[in-house]
């Protein structure tokens, strides 16, 4: 750093910067003051700020004025920086006034508060870990409170609908189910087919070691029908419908459409949530069943091309391995996952605050929560079904 007790110039265009005729400015250290000159503006603001700091760093108390005597023009950005410098100097106990402003510059000085005593900004206190922990706890508590209130509202709405079934918004269910279900069929089919195929491929070699080729049908069949098809389907539905529900309802929330619904005498939960839950409760098992079929087909393809098991033999083996109870547990899971996804998506939609950014945050949160919930639910279901001997 250059010695700063001798007068020093901050200068116009720096050597090496070939931007051509840049507006020149200057900062010089005078007696108890910084003399500014030239054009102070946004294009040179970065260098101005650096020069001001360099020159003022070693300035002794009690005083360092900013002299605008030589300044031809200032813009808002530069003025804001000068005013900020005053505040910084004030925290170091150095008094600083903006002096020598020409008549033309005077209004801008006033506009930015350069004439008033510098406003000391309280530096935001660093939050310690304890405080952060406390805040996080409070936030989590509030989240839990919201979720509990949401569950309460669902139960109340469900009660109302059970008492008067006609009061439900059932007309919305078919179109919601169509959007969540039919439009999701291709991706579910593709995924489940590939999963069945990969399962078959991986297990084929292992089983071949024991000469148990034919059991590929059992392994793939059971895993697809009981576990993989419900899981893969739920993952697809989370990403498509769960996120869509959160975004739709969240947008309605931030644009006051939910409030409008309420003032027109609608119960938003009954009107918006129950149809969505019903739609996914239908769509979940249906997509899961389709997934079962293509998943098993994927396994059969491996049997045919890799293990030389004919389709008929494969099917015969399958019939000895898979019982209706296996399929049923998968479908129950599918329905439960559907309900969970709809509830999570709608809950996040209703909890949305803070405009478009809030909608985005809630949509992301929906997918994450859904995936987590699905895996946990799946574990619980699997253990539960096994305990029941299903």
């Amino acid at each position: 750093m250059a010695a700063s007790d001798q007068p020093r110039r901050g200068s116009g265009p720096e050597p090496g910067s070939s931007r051509g005729a840049r507006a020149a400015f200057s900062v010089e250290r005078g007696d108890g003051r910084l003399l500014l000159g030239g054009d102070l503006g946004l294009p040179v603001a970065a260098r101005l700020w650096r020069d001001l700091h360099t020159l003022s760093r070693a300035a002794p108390p009690p005083r360092l004025d900013l002299d605008l005597g030589g300044v031809a023009a200032v813009d808002g950005a530069a003025m804001a920086l000068l005013v900020e410098l005053r505040a910084e100097l004030a925290t170091r106990g150095i008094e600083c006034e903006i002096v020598g402003a020409s008549r033309r510059l005077e209004p801008l000085v006033h506009l930015y508060g350069g004439h008033a005593p510098p406003r000391l900004r309280a530096t935001p206190a660093r939050t310690g870990w304890l405080e952060r922990l406390g805040r996080a706890t409070v936030d989590a508590g509030r989240g839990l409170e919201l979720a509990v209130a949401f569950v309460g509202a669902i139960v109340a709405a469900l009660g109302g609908v059970l008492r008067r079934p006609a009061s439900g918004n059932w007309r919305a269910v078919p179109s919601l189910a169509e959007r969540a279900g039919i439009d999701g069929v291709p991706i579910v089919l593709l995924l489940d087919f590939l999963v069945g195929f990969v399962m078959g491929y991986q297990s084929a070699d292992q089983l071949a070691l024991y000469g148990a080729h034919a059991f590929v049908a059992d392994v793939v069949g059971i895993s697809v029908v009981r576990e993989l098809s419900p899981l893969m389907t739920a993952i697809v539905v989370s990403g498509r419908s769960g996120a869509a529900f959160a975004a739709e309802i969240g947008t309605m929330r931030v644009s006051e459409e939910i409030d409008a619904l309420r003032t027109m005498g609608f119960c938003p939960v009954r009107y918006l949530v129950l149809p969505r839950v019903a739609a996914l409760a239908l769509v979940g098992p249906v997509l899961t069943l389709l997934g079962d079929i293509v998943g098993v087909a994927g396994g059969a393809l491996v049997g045919v091309i890799k293990l030389d098991i004919g389709p008929t033999a494969y099917l015969a083996e399958l019939r000895t391995a898979i019982f209706p109870a296996d399929v049923a547990t998968g479908l129950v899971k599918g329905a439960a996952f559907g309900v969970a996804i709809a509830l999570i998506g709608c809950h996040h939609g209703f909890a949305t605050t803070g405009g478009a950014a809030g909608v985005g945050r809630r949509t992301t949160a929906t997918v994450v929560t859904c995936l987590f919930t699905i895996v946990v639910l799946d574990t619980l279901f699997t253990v539960f079904f096994r305990m029941l001997g299903l």
Binding site: E256, D259, A260, T263, M264, G265, F266, C267
Partner: protein, 247 residues
């Protein structure tokens, strides 16, 4: 026509959780058939107070009576007031016609064709017959406000709450909207609670008004616009000076 007052506000305080109250101890009455203005600068809590009046927010304290039925309740019964939100709050996925039809379908068993007739009559009232099948996104700002008014009128309310119908509109459109509001109010015998800080609307269509003040956190004056404009209270005259564009 039993109560002359359709809205009674007693000692009402409103605000948001975890923040200092915005308005405290507000007392005023809205008489049947008048246009009552809620005035105040930006952020003075007009919209928040309105949300309390229509039952979307719980007041922090105080009593509220809407249409002689006690505090507003948003369930179970057909709402007897209509609300227009500051940004319109039209349902983006429904056409203008469907927006207006929705509350009618909710509260009546009218067959589809009859609902359509009612809807068209409402849209004619606000001059939007041609926009029945358009989505809100395809409307201009002024059309959106008129569609929102049509929807607020759909359940034949006695009382209409309008949050800044003229915000974001040019002076001509905003004056047209004022005319529309007064016409509807006279013809339908409505009582209107109007949030605004538009001087034109205040003097042209507001019968009486209450002025909120952000610093004072209360209603600083109640009366006719002329009386308020002539007030010696600095907070009141200050509002009128700022609203008229003075320094």
């Amino acid at each position: 026509m039993s109560t002359p007052c359709v809205l009674t506000v007693e000692d009402l305080s409103v605000g948001w959780r975890g923040e200092p109250p915005l308005v405290e101890h507000a007392c005023f009455e809205v008489k049947r058939g008048e246009v009552f203005g809620l005035l105040g600068g930006s952020g003075s809590g007009k919209s928040t107070l309105l949300r309390c009046l229509v039952g979307l927010e719980e007041p922090l304290a105080g009593r509220l009576d809407v249409l002689g039925a006690g505090p507003p309740r948003l369930d179970a019964t057909r709402p007897r007031y209509g609300v227009m939100f500051q940004a319109g709050a039209l349902f983006g996925s429904l056409t203008v016609g469907q927006n207006v039809a929705l509350p009618i379908q909710r509260w009546t068993d009218l067959p589809r064709a009859a609902v359509a007739t009612v809807v068209r009559s409402k849209l004619r009232l606000v001059g939007l017959e041609d926009a029945e099948h358009k989505l809100p996104a395809a409307l201009s700002g002024g059309m959106r406000k008129r569609a929102a008014i049509a929807r607020a009128l759909s359940l034949e309310p006695d009382l209409l709450f309008l949050d800044e119908p003229s915000s974001g509109l040019d002076p001509v459109t905003s004056a047209e909207l004022d005319v529309l509001i007064v016409t509807l109010q006279r013809a339908l015998g409505l009582t209107v609670v109007l949030v605004t800080h538009e001087l034109g609307s205040i003097f042209d269509i507001v019968d009486r008004c209450a002025l909120l003040d952000r610093q004072a956190r209360c209603v600083v004056a109640i009366g006719t616009p002329r009386a308020l404009a002539a007030s010696a209270d600095g907070r009141v005259s200050g509002f009128f000076r700022r609203a008229s564009g003075g320094a």
